[in-house]
């Protein structure tokens, strides 16, 4: 059964130095507050996994919390580069970053294989592309029935997966709505998991029998952090701050302005500060 705890406890209990950590959310429901708590608690030597490392991983890389990263698209969506990620890869600042790069299809399949307790994933992928030449974890497998040669990648099995969701009930059952990305697969593939939520309610009342619910017994810790996905968004609660994503380009371009931003908005801040972004619950939420 999931324990409902503070964010500080959830991160303290589940994230250890050197862990392989997946913080997922495909543009939507990115667990920013939890990522900031990981930085505040000074976790180091993390191996980060995420399909679309955007601003949150730019921040973790920029503070030097990561030794490596497995990913498939590392940019600021619609804006351009992740400057801290680029500085780490191009100039090894603040430390070298070991990278393992895949395509989205391979990452999605690898999470699914992890959730399915399989050692690897197979896909019709990477044909004619150069990534297999630079990533030794992209191999091939021959179909025993047809002889077709397919791409194979290892399953993703994080030590801990962290996601953000709309709400949980008091037992810790979690409902996720909207663009659901790979969050379910990432949680089920991991040894431990943290889910931060916009609200905790008496009755979950999933809107459909097919709603995406993660049961309490498949989650390690749940923390109530309203606004915890800002500047990404929570469908039914608050919109994506595209202006923040555009503004991040300037902040992250320079090492000093980045460090000043981290001090003011992460090191000297608290999870409760995210609540100001939570807004009013609009009618679309059930």
């Amino acid at each position: 059964m999931a324990k409902i705890v503070s964010l500080a406890e959830a991160v303290g209990d589940n994230v250890r130095d050197g862990d392989t950590v997946a913080m997922e959310g495909f543009t939507h429901l990115i667990p920013y507050a939890a990522g900031h708590e990981v930085i505040r608690q000074g976790r180091k030597d993390l191996y980060l996994v995420r399909m679309t490392p955007d601003i949150l991983y730019d921040q973790l890389i920029g503070v030097g919390a990561a030794r490596g990263m497995k990913f498939s698209w590392g940019g600021n969506p619609g804006v351009g580069s992740l400057h801290r990620f680029r500085d780490a890869v191009e100039n090894q600042w603040p430390r070298p970053l070991e990278i393992e790069e895949h395509s989205h299809a391979a990452m999605a399949n690898a999470y699914e294989a992890g959730a399915a307790n399989l050692p690897f994933a197979t896909l019709r992928g990477y044909i004619g592309a150069d990534l297999p030449k630079v990533n030794p974890n992209i191999k091939s497998v021959t179909c025993p029935f047809t002889g077709e040669v397919l791409a194979a990648v290892p399953a993703i099995r994080p030590d801990v997966t962290i996601i953000h969701a709309q709400r949980a009930d008091r037992k810790g059952n979690v409902l996720i709505e909207g663009i659901v990305g790979v969050q379910k697969e990432a949680v089920l593939a991991a040894k431990r998991s943290i889910v931060t939520v916009e609200e905790i309610v008496d009755e979950l009342n999933p809107p459909s029998p097919n709603s995406l619910v993660l049961p309490s017994w498949a989650i390690t810790s749940v923390a109530h952090v309203p606004g915890g996905a800002f500047p990404s968004y929570a469908h039914g609660y608050y919109p994506r701050s595209n202006a923040f994503y555009i503004g991040w380009d300037e902040i992250a371009r320079d090492r000093d302005s980045f460090s000043a931003w981290i001090k003011e908005n992460v090191l000297d801040a608290r999870p409760e500060d995210f609540a100001r972004h939570a807004g009013n619950k609009p009618a679309k939420a059930a």
Binding site: F26, T27, H28, M51, T52, F71, S72, W73, G74, G75, P77, G78, V79, S81, L82, F85, R86, V89, E90, E101, S103, H104, A105, A108, N109, Y111, E112, L123, R124, G125, Y126, I127, G128, A129, D130, L131, V134, E148, V149, G178, I179, V180, G181, V182, K184, E185, P231, Y233, H235, P239, R240, S241, N242, A243, F244, Y245, I246, G247, H277, K284
Partner: protein, 260 residues
């Protein structure tokens, strides 16, 4: 209607490549603008799919990211990312993929990964995302990007997604049954692969553009087809539609500045 920019011409020429029957996997940026102009003009029933899992989406403003809430709010349905890539893309359900890129070569291979050596890149670009499998699994591929010497290069430092590889029947030799890139729409002209060699060849030149401009802005010795036509200028409806959606988008993306 004579007053339009090269970028507007590019987006509108790209939009015209799409039809009502297309099920289109949409890349962010220029492809997204073109696909939505098509939907708002001549192809109202086109199915637009973004890799975040939104299927049949009809955004009122262009998304900044591939997963803006606008896409989910206006979609017929939304699936998980593994389902998107496994059932819909790899399953062969998508007729057309629409991609952009940082660099392209004469066989329409694309690079969005690195400039310089992979291990010590001069410029680290975001990477491939969905492109490698979009390029191989969609029925055909359209590409849109501005023509420039930096973008249209003799040799790519890295092949992020394969177009026609080394040319000729390279795709077939690798077992691919899809067509690959069939059209590249730039701000100066439209290119299509030669039927035999698969080398990108100019087939249509935008109004007011000269052959010399095209030659000067391409990093390889670009070829022209035997018959080259002039791209029809944007119509009033096309221009108004594009400008309106761009204006709505700009307003929406800046509107939340206070919150940031």
């Amino acid at each position: 209607m004579s007053d339009f920019t090269p970028t507007e011409m590019m987006t509108i020429a790209a939009a015209r490549a799409l039809s009502n029957d297309d099920v289109c996997f949409v890349g962010i940026g220029a492809p997204s603008a073109a696909c939505n102009v098509a939907r708002l003009t001549h192809a109202p029933d086109i199915t637009l799919i973004y890799e975040s899992g939104t299927v049949g989406t009809k955004p009122d403003v262009l998304p900044l990211s591939i997963g803006d809430g606008e896409l989910c709010d206006t979609a017929l349905f939304t699936v998980s990312v593994p389902e998107m890539f496994r059932y819909w893309l790899q399953g062969g359900r998508i007729t057309t993929g629409f991609l952009g890129g940082a660099q392209i070569d004469r066989f329409a291979n694309l690079n969005t990964t690195v400039v310089g050596p992979y291990d010590h890149p001069k410029v680290r670009l975001p990477g491939g995302g969905g492109a490698p499998e979009i390029a191989s699994n969609c029925g055909r591929i359209f590409i849109t990007m501005a023509l420039s010497k930096r973008g249209f290069v003799e040799k790519l430092p890295f092949i992020t997604s394969m177009g026609h590889g080394e040319g000729g029947n390279h795709r077939e030799r690798l077992g691919m049954k899809t067509k690959g890139p069939t059209r590249v729409i730039t701000d100066l002209c439209i290119l299509e692969p030669d039927p035999e060699t698969k080398e990108l060849t100019v087939v249509s030149i935008h109004p007011g553009v000269t052959r010399e401009q095209i030659v000067e802005n391409c990093g390889w010795a670009i070829k022209f087809a035997d018959e080259v036509i002039e791209t029809p200028a944007p119509t009033a409806l096309e221009l108004t539609t594009l400008r309106d959606i761009n204006a709505r988008t700009k307003k929406a993306h800046q509107g939340d500045k206070e919150a940031a």
